[in-house]
C-alpha cells in the first residue's frame, strides 16, 4: 500500500458512528488529527469528535470555537480536550468505531448533558425503562 492509499484508508473512517464502551452512541468522527513525521509519512494520531470540531470543519468560524469552549466547560474530562480521542482508545473499527472510553468524558456529551439536566429530567417518567 502506498502512503497515499494508506492515508485514504484511514480517512475512510471520517463521519462514522462512535460507540462507547457501554454500547452508547457517542457522536461521529467529525475530523481526524494528523501528524507528519520527519521522513514525510503522515499518520493519524487522534479522532476528533464534538459539535465544535464539526462546526470548524464546516467552516463556521465563530460557532466552532464557541461550541468547543462550551464542551470544555460542560464536560469535566480527565484529558484537557474532551473532543480529542487518542488512537489508543479506539478498540475496534468496523461499520461503527468502538471506543474504550466513557461517553460521559467526551465533548459529544456536552449538549446531551445540558438537555438531560434542564429539560428531560423535569418530565415525569424520564427514567422509566422502555421495555
Amino acid at each position: 500500500m502506498t502512503a497515499a492509499r494508506k492515508l485514504w484508508a484511514v480517512l475512510d473512517i471520517m463521519d462514522r458512528q462512535l460507540i462507547d464502551r457501554q454500547d452508547r452512541f457517542a457522536g461521529t468522527v467529525d475530523d481526524v488529527e494528523l501528524a507528519v513525521a520527519d521522513d514525510g509519512t503522515i499518520s493519524v494520531t487522534a479522532l476528533l469528535a464534538g459539535p465544535g470540531v464539526l462546526a470548524r470543519r464546516m467552516r463556521f468560524h465563530r460557532l466552532g470555537p464557541w461550541l468547543e469552549r462550551f464542551a470544555r466547560w460542560a464536560v469535566p474530562a480527565e484529558s484537557e480536550d474532551p473532543a480529542r480521542i487518542p488512537l489508543g482508545r479506539v478498540a475496534d473499527i468496523g461499520s461503527a468505531i468502538h471506543l474504550s472510553l466513557d461517553h460521559e468524558d467526551m465533548a459529544t456529551m456536552a449538549t446531551e448533558r445540558w438537555f438531560r439536566d434542564n429539560i428531560i429530567d423535569h418530565i415525569p417518567g424520564s427514567t422509566d425503562a422502555a421495555e
Binding site: 463521519d15 452508547r24 461521529t28 468496523g94 459529544t108 417518567g125 427514567t127 422502555a130
Partner: protein
C-alpha cells in the same frame, strides 16, 4: 399470531407512507379525476420502495446502521446536512398534516370542530413516543391500521365493472379536461407518496430498535414483501372506489369525509365505523412515523444516542428534538392550514430530495467492508439503478411541474 405481529413494522411503515392523511385524499382525488389511469404509477412506486426498503433493512440488520447514519457517512457533513434540513422540513410538514388528520378522524366521531382536537392528538402522539415500547407501538397501530381493508371490502361489495377498471389501468389515457402536466403532477405525487423518505428512516431505525441481526434477514423480507404491497393495495382500492362512485358523476374529491362516502354507500354504518378506526390508526401511525423520523434523522446525523430501547434520559437530545417537533407542528396546525394541502406539498418536496437518501443506501448495500457476503445481487442492482434514474428525473421535474400546474389545480 406471533408471525403476524413480527411484520407489523412493515405494515405500520407502509400504511404511514401510502395511506396517511394526504394520500387518502390524493388517491381518492386521482380516482375521481383520472379513473385508474395512474394505477401503474402506484405499482412502480410499490416495487421501488420494496427494493430500497429491503436494502435499508438488510444494512440495518447486518451492520446496525440505520439510513441517516449512512447518509452522513457517505455524503459527509455538507451534502448530508442539506439532506438533513430537507428531510427534517418534510417530516415536520407531514407531522403537522397528520396531527390535523388524527383530529379530523376523531371529529368524524366526536362532532367537535377538528381544530379543537389537534392539541389532544398531539398530546396522544407524544405520550405514546414517551411511554410505549417500540414493539407495542407498532403492533397496536399496525394492526388497527389494517381496518383500512374496509376500503377493499367496500369495493368488492359494490360489484364494480372489473374489466373497465383493468382496462383503464392498462391503457392509461389523459382525460379530455386534463393536461399532460396535471397528469404528470399527480403521477409524481403518487410515486413520491410510495417512496417518501421517512419510510426508510423509520423502517431501518425500527430494525435497530428491534435489534435485528443477520439472522433476521427473512424477517426483513417478510416485512417488506407483505407491508408495502398491502399499502399499495389499499391505495389502489381507494382509487378504484372513487373511479366507480365519483368519476361518472364528475365529482371532485378534496376532503376526508368525501373519501369515506363511497364506503358508507357500499357497506353502511358498521363499515364506516371500522373505516374511521382505520383512518385514525393510519394517520396516528403516520404521525408517530414522522415525529420519530425527525428525531432519528437529527440524532443519527450527529451520532447522538437515540431510540426507544433506552430510557428517555439516556437519549435526551433525541427526545427533545421530537418534543420540539410536536410542539412546533401543533402550533402550525392550529393556524387552520389544510392538512391535505400540506401533505401534498410535502410529498412533492420529498420527491425532490429522494436521491440524497436513496443513493447512500445503494452504495453501502454494495460495500463488502460493511455487508460481507450480503451485498446486493446483480438483478437487484440492475433494478435499483433503474430506480435511481427514475428518482433523479423525478427530482429534477418536480418543482417546475408544481409551478406549472399550480400544485395540480
Amino acid at each position: 399470531m406471533k408471525k403476524i405481529l413480527s411484520i407489523t413494522l412493515g405494515i405500520l411503515t407502509a400504511i404511514g407512507g401510502f395511506v396517511d392523511i394526504g394520500d387518502l385524499v390524493a388517491n381518492a382525488a386521482t380516482g375521481a379525476r383520472f379513473k385508474m389511469a395512474l394505477a401503474g404509477v402506484v405499482l412502480i412506486g410499490v416495487l421501488g420502495i420494496i427494493v430500497y426498503a429491503e436494502m435499508s433493512g438488510r444494512v440495518a440488520a447486518i451492520t446496525g446502521r440505520p439510513v441517516f447514519d449512512l447518509v452522513r457517512e457517505r455524503l459527509g457533513p455538507n451534502a448530508g446536512g442539506a439532506n438533513l434540513i430537507a428531510s427534517f422540513i418534510i417530516n415536520l410538514l407531514t407531522l403537522c398534516a397528520e396531527l390535523g388528520g388524527v383530529a379530523l378522524a376523531l371529529s368524524m366521531i366526536a362532532s367537535v370542530n377538528y381544530i379543537l382536537l389537534i392539541p389532544v392528538a398531539a398530546f396522544l402522539v407524544w405520550i405514546v413516543i414517551w411511554k410505549m415500547p417500540f414493539e407495542r407501538m407498532e403492533e397496536m397501530f399496525g394492526l388497527l391500521g389494517l381496518m383500512l381493508i374496509t376500503f377493499l371490502v367496500a369495493l368488492f361489495h359494490l360489484h364494480p365493472p372489473w374489466h373497465e377498471l383493468l382496462h383503464s389501468a392498462s391503457h392509461p389515457a389523459i382525460p379530455k379536461n386534463e393536461t399532460p402536466f396535471t397528469f404528470a403532477y399527480y403521477a409524481i405525487a403518487l410515486f413520491g407518496a410510495a417512496m417518501t423518505p421517512y419510510e426508510v428512516f423509520f423502517f431501518s431505525s425500527g430494525a435497530v430498535e428491534e435489534k435485528w441481526t443477520v439472522d433476521d434477514l427473512n424477517l426483513n423480507r417478510a416485512n417488506v414483501y407483505i407491508g408495502f404491497p398491502l399499502g399499495g393495495l389499499l391505495s389502489l382500492s381507494i382509487m378504484a372506489l372513487t373511479t366507480v362512485v365519483f368519476a361518472p358523476r364528475m365529482i371532485s374529491v378534496d376532503t376526508l369525509p368525501q373519501v369515506a362516502l363511497p364506503v358508507a354507500l357500499s357497506v353502511g354504518k358498521v363499515g364506516l365505523g371500522l373505516l374511521i378506526i382505520g383512518i385514525f390508526a393510519a394517520t396516528f401511525g403516520a404521525a408517530l412515523e414522522t415525529a420519530m423520523s425527525s428525531g432519528y434523522c437529527v440524532a443519527q446525523y450527529f451520532g447522538w444516542q437515540w431510540g426507544k430501547f433506552v430510557k428517555p434520559r439516556e437519549a435526551a437530545r433525541f427526545h427533545v428534538v421530537m418534543l420540539a417537533a410536536i410542539v412546533a407542528t401543533t402550533l402550525f396546525a392550529l393556524t387552520g392550514v389544510d392538512p391535505v394541502k400540506v401533505t401534498e406539498y410535502s410529498i412533492v418536496l420529498s420527491a425532490a430530495a429522494l436521491p440524497l437518501t436513496y443513493f447512500p443506501i445503494l452504495l453501502i448495500s454494495n460495500d463488502r467492508h460493511y455487508m460481507g457476503d450480503h451485498v446486493n445481487g446483480r438483478v437487484l442492482n440492475f433494478l435499483a439503478s433503474i430506480y435511481m434514474v427514475i428518482i433523479a428525473v423525478v427530482a429534477v421535474v418536480t418543482i417546475p411541474l408544481m409551478i406549472i400546474t399550480k400544485a395540480g389545480a
